[in-house]
Amino acid sequence: MEIHLPNSAFLGNIDPFIRSYRPNNKKELKISFNDAWVSVHPVVLCMVASLGLYVSNGGGEIFCQKPTATSKHYLERMGLFQILELDSEIKIKSHESAGRFIPLTQIFNSQELYKFITEMIPLLHSEPSHVEPIKYVISELVRNVFEHSESEMGAIVCAQYHKKNNVIRIGVVDSGIGIRKSISYSYETEDDLHALQLALTPGITGKTRNIGGTETNAGAGLFFIKSIAKVNRDFFVIYSGNALYKLLKTLPGSPIKLNMNPFEDRSSRSNNFPYWQGTVVGIDISLNRHQTFDKLLELIRETYFKDIKERKKERFKKPKFI
């Protein structure tokens, strides 16, 4: 396999980076970098780390170009060389790790996830109202990996606060069975893109064919996360198998409308990307346009239950808040 970290790869322009990935020969991984400068979304680092772990766990070899770019310190600080057990020959002072980022972290179970959420995420930003959606996104995405991916290597997580844009960027990646196989336990799928469409539709889960899910799985997690990006007018990307779905930014001035069908959102999507074994999710959360979580929940309720409320409102019981 070959993967090249370009000059720039964020969610808005991630397509060329993904198209340059070569998934052939799973016994070796060649990692190369742009010679001049590397500036990438955390999800890109998660992908590289996930591939590297996949190859090394399978007894293969990793061939990593020595980065000469100024940003090699960034790659070191984000833990790329450490997680792959590669020697970058860069020495980073320990105090630098207290910056507003979460280095590449491998999470295998609930205990590690709890520790990650309580100890690491608060380092990203000081305001609790901003931290809340970050916790939410990471918890739901990592639990999706635990419950659906059958990944032997858990979830690879990475996040960074970008001061210039006042945005938090998050990546969660696994090398498991992928969305299509997971959804196919309960639903027939035409291809990987159709599987992504189903996975993003609320009420649909690979755990059961019943709309509304099981006792522990409602099939609403990815819909909520896409909705967080939508209400904040941010990017959201999900890539699995040959398919990539990208929620594009909602244009300034345009009304925010959540759609049950993800293809009705302003988005780009394609089913001819290089095959990714597993699932890749990237999301941006802009703090300048940050909507409160309460506002998001209001919108979700309006979308989810618009018809129900019209038809059955008078018959509904309410939870008793005391």
């Binding site: 609930s110 996830l113 709890y114 959420i117 309580t118 609790p128 809340e132 916790k135 939410y136 918890s139 739901e140 639990r143 009420g203 019943n210 709309i211 509304g212 899910g213 006792e215 522990t216 799985n217 409602a218 609403a220 997690g221 909520f224 979580f293 309460d294 929940l297 209001e298 979700i300 309720r301 989810y304 239950f305 129900i308 059955k312 018959r315 509904f316 019981k317 309410k318 939870p319 008793k320 808040f321 005391i322």
Partner: protein, 96 residues
Amino acid sequence: MIYIKLFERVGSFAEDKDIARAIRTEEILPYLEEKQVTLDFENIEGATQSFIHALISDLIRKKGIEVLDKIFFKNCNETVKGIIGIVVEYMQDKEE
């Protein structure tokens, strides 16, 4: 009355579905016929939809929507109220 302080079990961010399922199956469901239940969310700053779903959806599924006459949600902030409201609504939709 069964009284469950969730903060002691899940901390300030309620996201662990395994704990939610254990509370539901071991501490709520066996006693619902004869007792009421208070779920105290004091000091809980946030919760995921998955956690709330794992905590209460199967109670509604198994006992019917009337089970909400026996369950009280105490000290919920607006976020937690919102998520509980969503789960309760979609479970009623399913029931219908």
